[in-house]
């Protein structure tokens, strides 16, 4: 059985267009999630019990429900309520809300991993809480957070494939269109897998480089 | 403190001529990458003898112990136990080959080792910790082994802790269980690797007492320790190691009162409580 290279070459533009949308969706979602996650974690760690509990409840909610259901909830819910949101926007919103929760936990783990001793030492030197946060806690927490965020980004890229169920013209959707049109399913899926592997491998490589730089700095 | 009577212990020197060499180490050498950890170490331990190894950290004492128990590989030299070379076999063409795991395990089952961090099996109760090896390694009958284990645990003062998990015991108690566990295999040689270094000071005494009684019963032992007074009391011979080599050895009085090498003198100066210089 020979591999249909011609087929792949002919349809590469279609895959590429889909890949671009995938990348757009992923990058926008991770940036938004980084910001939203910060909001959540600040609420989680705040001194007002009600706010902290709400944030905790939010995190548990998004962690224990599937992304697909969240996407459907937003997309169909808004559409039937008369405020239709595009597939892209719905997927973006769902991914942001979900990953914001996970990233909030990453932030929290990073902050709480800084040993109590260092904070005590800093405060013993007379630093006030905000200064301690800025000079001692955040720089170190940052180094622990980066690898986890990188992993979350990889997960996010894979989750964008779910947007195809909302007819978003990303990578997975390109493959679905092609399988409907042609019989070259084998070539389609190999190419599809290859595209995703390249994207995730690229991000993982970038992550390793970052980790090495970080290790060198310490 | 419970007394271990000679007849109650397994008698390792039955049928063995006291004074005959049991362990012969010749030219032992080992490196970790670029650094030389053991350098041309030669040592003899006779039946019924108690040898204490002292020296600064990093002198290779623990590595020596682990090599004897075949927990580490060594590149040069040979170790003979009762005349038989263990660990490696020299092929007809002169190539050195590590023996198969079967033979290594067999050799280890004849040697008892107690570690600094006791290393009890946390998911097993105390009694099971002691009986698991004789039953599953040597294939002994469970009833027999259990009886022996109960006696051993009673002798080390832990008869009431048979059903406890290691986490419920103090460090000193855990170490005594570790000793009982090693003794349950009826070894001909016991190795102790700084077994009191990780203990709270008030718990050290009870463990040293157990070792003292073992020595009195005639067990052949190699003890790596920082407890100078204890080494002086219980050992027939002291070996001083530094930077991977044996610098000096001899009877306790000679080592502690008339040290000849400069390094030993410097080392002893830091433990002035134990010596008379």
């Amino acid at each position: 059985m020979s591999f249909g290279w011609n087929f792949v070459a002919r349809n590469l533009p279609l895959f590429a267009e889909g890949a671009i949308v995938t990348i757009q969706l992923s990058v926008l979602a991770i940036l938004a999630a980084l910001v939203w996650g910060l909001v959540i974690v600040l609420a989680r760690l705040s001194r007002w019990r009600l706010l902290a509990l709400t944030a905790t409840g939010y995190i548990e909610l998004v962690r224990n429900t599937p992304v697909l259901v969240q996407m459907y909830f937003i997309y169909f819910g808004l559409a039937f309520a008369g405020l239709p949101l595009s597939g892209f926007a719905s997927a973006l919103l769902a991914l942001t809300l979900q990953n914001g929760g996970y990233i909030a936990e990453i932030y929290r783990a990073g902050i709480e991993s800084i040993s109590r001793n260092q904070i005590d030492a800093a405060r013993g030197l007379g630093m006030r809480k905000l200064l301690v946060l800025r000079l001692v806690v955040l720089p170190q927490a940052f180094f622990r957070i980066v690898p986890a965020i990188g992993n979350q980004f990889v997960v996010m890229i894979k989750d964008t494939s779910l947007a195809s169920t909302l007819s978003v013209a990303e990578l997975m959707q390109a493959a679905r269109i092609l399988t409907d049109r042609t019989a070259a399913t084998y070539e389609v899926f190999v190419t599809l897998a290859a595209f995703y592997l390249v994207m995730t491998a690229f991000v993982t490589l970038l992550l390793r480089l970052c980790e090495r730089r970080i290790a060198a700095l310490r | 403190m419970p007394v271990i009577s000679k007849s109650a212990l397994p008698t390792p020197i039955e049928g063995r001529a006291v004074g005959q060499p049991m362990v012969e180490i010749r030219g032992l050498g080992k490196s970790y990458g670029r650094s030389r950890v053991l350098h041309d170490v030669s040592l003899e331990i006779r039946n019924g003898e108690v040898v204490a190894v002292i020296g600064p950290s990093g002198s290779g004492k623990t590595t020596l112990l682990r090599c004897i128990d075949l927990l580490e590989e060594f590149e040069q030299g040979e170790i003979r136990i009762d005349g038989e070379a263990v660990g490696y076999r020299v092929e007809p063409r002169g190539r050195r080959v590590r023996r198969p795991e079967r033979e290594l395990a067999a050799a280890r089952s004849q040697i008892g080792i107690v570690f600094q961090s006791f290393n009890l099996f946390p998911h097993m109760k105390v009694l099971r910790n002691v009986i698991v090896a004789p039953v599953r390694v040597k294939g002994e009958a469970r009833a027999e082994v259990e009886a022996r284990a109960r006696e051993l645990l009673a002798r080390v003062g832990l008869a009431d802790k048979l059903d406890a998990y290691p986490a419920a015991l103090s460090n000193g108690q855990q170490q005594r269980v570790a000793i009982a566990r090693a003794l349950a295999m009826r070894p001909k040689l016991m190795l102790f690797d700084e077994v009191t270094s990780a203990l709270d000071p008030e718990l050290v005494g009870e463990v040293l007492e157990v070792i003292r009684q073992l020595a009195a019963a005639g067990m052949t032992m190699l003890i790596v320790t920082h407890e100078m007074q204890f080494a002086r009391d219980v050992a027939h011979r002291i070996v001083f190691m530094d930077s991977g080599s044996i610098i000096e050895e001899g009877p306790p009085d000679q080592i502690f009162e008339k040290p000849t090498s400069e390094r030993l003198r410097n080392f002893l100066r830091r433990y002035h409580r134990a010596c008379v210089i």
Partner: protein
Amino acid sequence: MPSVLIANLWLLLGGAATTVELSVASATLAALIGFALAVLQVFGGALLRGIAEVYVYFVRGVPLLVLLFAMYYMLPYSGIDLPPTLGGILVIALYFAAFMSEVFRGAILAVPRAQWDAGRGLGMRSRVLLSLVILPQALRLAAPPFVNTCVMLIKSTSLVSVIGLLELTLSGRQIVERTLAAFQIFGGVALIYFVLCYCLSLYARHLEKRLAYAH
């Protein structure tokens, strides 16, 4: 008053039952394969280790949806006649086996080296050492992350709705197509998933506290 939700609750619960069946089947299979992969990675020779690592790498770089579609579209073309339910279970199991293998591998490697020393010092050989000393401790260490991976798996079963398996998510979608009460129905669907997953998450946290050893 979520009247539409209540009216269709029985249908949703039927879908939930299918979700649970799919999850249990996939999780069991994934655990077995994952455990085998982990053992290969820790104890196997270079070749076996390499194969296991490539497998894990591939699975972690490709979305589950891609694998499900590949199975759904490609198998009929290759002449294999696999019912979609079985195919879905297999794909999810093979996918999560990679995650399970990381959990088990981490757990085996987390058993302190000193435990190996202790067992060997008593003359134990590999088989006895592994079965009596190392693996019991490794399985205890693996339990909390294992349960968390199962939570991930339950959520992932929602993807088989896309290839037509009538589990909870597809049930919800069908009801919404009929009634247009998207917020209510999908809200209910999310709630059912939440109950399933949250209980397991709590159990994982409980396990973490109960099984911790002070080594």
